[in-house]
């Protein structure tokens, strides 16, 4: 069983981003990431080398990955936003497969994928459209629960109504599923009860405009958070005059252990950024990326350091101890940086094509399990 689940309770008091994973002697960090046309790569981050590449049964887009809690199975939302595959990363065996579409209903999921704390259930969002002879009918979105044990032709076991426009999701230690939509929702997957965890569109802060949120990257496992960034206008006067308006980057966060939520502006809006997360073990440090890599002091709302990147990277992630960071997405190499200095340490080149909007997942796992013979 993964260390994380054993240690979380003890670390709960450490608060924001504080639940450092403690690796056993045999363990080291690995990354799983998907690229075109149909590869799932397992990377040994200690060696910064490819451990193995598994072949997916179809198209890799969008390449959203969620790991099982024991980090044995990588679940991938791919197949043009319409399929979920489970791959045993020690041997590339396909353990799970679900085709979201059925009958004449075409179902797409926009990067919505999560796994229950006991590893038995897989969650996604169905955005169904009924395709008829001569017209389409958009149907209501649903929260769908699949059983991991249902094998290669899995069907949803439970379906609950949810609002439209949900993208990323993460499971809390208590089993609640946090979902990014107009607001951040909390879904109890046992009952289908839905509540608002963070009122975002429905709770615009006084003096602020509506936050704009783009995310398809469920990162944040290593910092124990559900995390999404927003950009927002803060008005200086009631007329909302442009001269008095300031623009900020901020984040909405749910602590996956405690369920505590936070909404925080962390820096002035200067450049476009795609993903950001807290540095494991450093709750006041928030990093974000696109054409720049930026390290922020959250309390001071200040950029500690910013560097120009050689190219754009969509997806940031950290080593479990927070010492290194990994930039993935867009093309087919992963850039490695020292998280403290933002000094570049190297690149890991992946066979195959673009990662595009794929999500990288970092976790620690026993070498004995994952190393090739």
């Amino acid at each position: 069983m993964l260390m994380r689940w054993m240690f979380t309770a003890a670390l709960a008091l450490s608060g924001i981003g504080g639940s450092l994973q403690v690796a056993a002697a045999d363990e080291r960090d690995y990354m799983v990431v998907v690229n075109r046309p149909n590869n799932l790569h397992v990377i040994d981050l200690a060696k910064e080398q490819l451990e193995r590449s598994c072949t997916l049964p179809g198209d890799s887009a969008p390449g959203t990955v969620a790991m099982s809690p024991d980090n044995r199975i990588a679940y991938v939302l791919a197949g043009r936003f319409g399929k979920i595959w489970g791959v045993d990363i020690s041997n590339c065996e396909l353990t799970f497969s679900a085709e979201l579409s059925y009958d004449n209903v075409r179902v797409k999921s926009l990067a919505s994928l999560a796994v229950s704390p006991d590893g038995k259930e897989i969650y996604t969002i169905h955005n169904p459209t009924r395709i008829m002879n001569d017209h389409y009918k958009v149907l209501d979105s649903q929260f769908a629960v699949y059983h991991a044990g249902d094998g290669l032709d899995a069907k949803p076991q439970r379906l609950y109504p949810v609002p439209r426009q949900i993208n990323i999701m993460q499971t809390g230690d208590n089993g609640m599923v946090y979902m990014s939509g107009a607001d951040v929702y909390a879904m109890d997957p046992k009952s289908g009860d839905l509540s608002v965890a963070i009122a975002s569109r429905s709770g615009v802060r006084p003096g602020y405009g509506q936050p704009d949120i783009l995310t398809v990257w469920p990162i944040g496992r290593v910092s124990n958070e559900f995390i999404r960034m927003y950009s927002v206008a803060k008005y200086g006067d009631v007329e909302k005059s442009p001269e008095a308006t300031e623009y900020f980057w901020g984040y909405e966060r749910v602590d996956l252990t405690t369920g505590e939520t936070a909404v925080e502006d962390f820096a002035p809006l200067e450049q476009v950024l795609f993903t950001g997360m807290h540095r494991p073990g450093h709750p006041n440090e928030f990093y974000a990326v696109l054409t720049q890599l930026k390290r922020h002091d959250v309390k001071a709302k200040k950029v500690i350091k910013s560097i120009d990147l050689e190219r754009t990277y969509y997806c940031i992630n950290f080593s479990t101890d927070g010492s290194k960071l990994y930039l993935a997405g867009t093309y087919n190499d992963i850039a490695v940086y020292n998280a403290e200095t933002l000094e570049k340490l190297g690149n890991i080149h992946l066979p195959g094509g673009d990662m595009s909007m794929a999500t990288s997942q970092v976790f620690s796992a026993p070498v004995s399990r994952l190393a090739s013979n």
């Binding site: 459209t129 002879n133 001569d134 017209h135 389409y136 009918k137 426009q165 993208n167 190219r311």
Partner: protein, 537 residues
């Protein structure tokens, strides 16, 4: 010469036995209906449900009206997305049939002709109800060039979201309840403003249609080449089909000569392919209901931003088309040509413009040497020849108060470079204005003087463009014509990050010298190729 398009669809409403001799006259029309209905049965009925047999009504298809280009796009989608089987010939026949039986009237297409005329840098004045919800991916014109009732608009919304689920997740979709707004606000708005309105179409069908056969006199202008005039002769080549001969000349002395074919849809939508010298042009013109005027554009097929804005008048009817050049400086004398058809009677150019000499007096051109009195203020003058009047046809100016580059914002695209996509050029004009009575530039009473010859140059648009040295890479502007030619496609190892030749430029026009020098700027985005080029952007 005059036939009723109604006869084309008469059979749809009248039993065959009631046909009179005159109704039967256009035989091709019957054939067209038969061919059209047969194609609908054979190519579309597999998915679209017959709702009525006489005349044939199919689900979805019979409840919409649109332009020929609109029908073409719908059918192309049936092929690409739904796998409908239809040959190119059959598709042409069906587009013609549908545009003739379920088209738009001249009034309905009028506000959006720029999109049909391929004015790719036209900046739309978008309606707030549509700007963000609909016209963020394509033009508002694509919406405004359709007529359908609420149920059909609702199907369209469902199709959009079903086909492109990211609509509600991308910018201007994710910040609102996109589907709710589309169904509850946009659909009623569209129903009200762009409803099926069958009666409008029926009135148009019932009205008498003119024939384009005969001789036409053309005037216009093209960025970089100046004013244009010409003659187009049109002869019949089958039902609604024509052959044409065109000769013409630009102000810069270059002449054009060639032949082409045309097809008329919906009783007025003229589409022609013409080869002039070595260049292939396309004409997209609308004939007025009286059948004595064409308005539209003739552009290079492979370089759509380069084209002539055209107005044409039937040679046997009197009209006053244009004055060229259309402006004169106060205190100066110059030659001008007054162009039109069947010109006769006294010429009047307005107070203060003195005719010094008549150099030529013809039916289609009157060439004059004129002088504008010193001290005249900038104003637009009505020009008259006999009964014919051209409001504001000649502008006199004492000075240029302001200059504007048109378009103010343009997009050019890199191309060639071994790739399959041609470069997309951009063409600019320098438009001169007088400040008007209030003496303030940029107000409603500004007086448009004309398009001035200018000196053209490029400058980096902003700090970013300076840092990236865009000026060295993006391409070149012709100093004299204002036509920008972008650089080659593909990565450029000389650039930072080995990126492509994209960039952001200011296009600068400069007119006059010394104290009278005026400058104006436009923004030019040089970007990568566009991989699809639908007939309605």
């Amino acid at each position: 010469m005059v036939k009723s398009l109604n006869s084309v669809v008469r059979r749809l409403v009248a039993p065959v036995g009631l046909w009179t001799a005159t109704m039967l006259a256009p035989l091709y029309a019957t054939a067209e209906i038969n061919a059209g209905e047969e194609l609908l049965r054979n190519r579309c009925m597999g998915c679209h449900v017959p709702e009525q047999n006489e005349p044939l009504q199919l689900s979805r298809i019979s409840h919409q009206r649109k332009t020929p280009e609109g029908w073409l796009m719908s059918i192309a989608r049936m092929q690409m997305v739904h796998g409908a089987q239809i040959t190119s010939d059959e598709r042409r026949t069906l587009v013609k049939f549908l545009a003739d039986t379920q088209g738009l009237t001249p009034q309905e297409s009028a506000p959006y002709r720029y999109i049909l005329e391929r004015r790719l840098n036209h900046i739309e004045d978008k309606q707030p109800q549509l700007a963000e919800m609909c016209a963020r991916c394509h033009s508002e014109a694509r919406v405004g060039l359709q007529r359908r009732d609420a149920g059909e608009w609702e199907h369209l919304v469902n199709f959009h979201l079903g086909q492109w689920p990211s609509i509600e997740y991308s910018a201007m979709g994710r910040d609102r309840d996109w589907l709710g707004l589309a169904l509850n606000e946009v659909v009623p708005f569209l129903d009200k403003n762009y409803g099926l309105q069958k009666d409008h179409w029926q009135q148009w069908l019932d009205s008498e249609k003119a024939s384009p056969i005969g001789e036409w006199r053309l005037v216009g202008s093209m960025p970089g080449r100046g004013d244009f005039h010409g003659v187009m002769k049109v002869i019949a080549d089958g039902e609604d089909r024509y052959r044409l001969n065109l000769t013409g000349k630009f102000a810069d002395g270059k002449s054009l000569r060639g032949k082409g074919q045309a097809l008329v849809y919906s009783g007025y939508e003229w589409r022609a392919d013409i080869t002039l010298g070595k260049e292939k042009f396309q004409q997209v013109l609308a004939m007025n209901p009286q059948g004595d005027r064409f308005e539209g554009r003739m552009f290079l097929k492979q370089q759509e931003t380069l084209g002539v804005n055209l107005t044409a008048s039937r040679a046997d009817k009197p009209s006053l088309l244009a004055v060229s050049p259309a402006f004169i400086e106060a205190g100066k004398s110059q030659q001008i040509s007054v162009r039109g058809t069947q010109l006769s009677g006294d010429v009047s150019l307005g107070p203060g413009i003195e005719v010094l000499k008549v150099l030529k007096r013809g039916k289609n051109e009157i060439r004059l040497k004129v002088r504008a009195r010193k001290g005249l203020e900038t104003q637009a003058l009505d020009v008259r020849v006999g009964e014919q009047n051209l409001a504001g046809g000649l502008r006199v100016y004492d000075r240029i108060d302001s200059l504007q580059v048109s378009p103010a914002y343009a997009v050019a695209r890199v191309g060639d470079g071994g790739g399959s996509q041609e470069k997309v050029k951009a063409a600019f004009e320098a438009r001169a204005y007088g400040a008007g009575e209030d003496g303030v530039n940029g107000t409603a009473d500004d007086i448009y003087i004309g398009t001035m010859p200018a000196n053209w140059s490029l400058a980096p648009f902003d700090q970013q463009a300076i840092e990236d040295r865009d000026l060295d890479f993006v391409g070149k502007i012709d100093r004299r014509t204002g036509v920008f030619t972008p650089a080659a496609a593909g990565p450029n190892s000389k650039r930072k990050y080995g990126t492509n030749n994209a960039g952001r430029m200011s296009v600068i026009a400069s007119v006059g010298q010394g104290d009278n020098k005026q400058e104006a700027k436009a923004e030019l985005i040089v970007t990568v190729q566009r991989w699809n080029n639908p007939p309605i952007r």
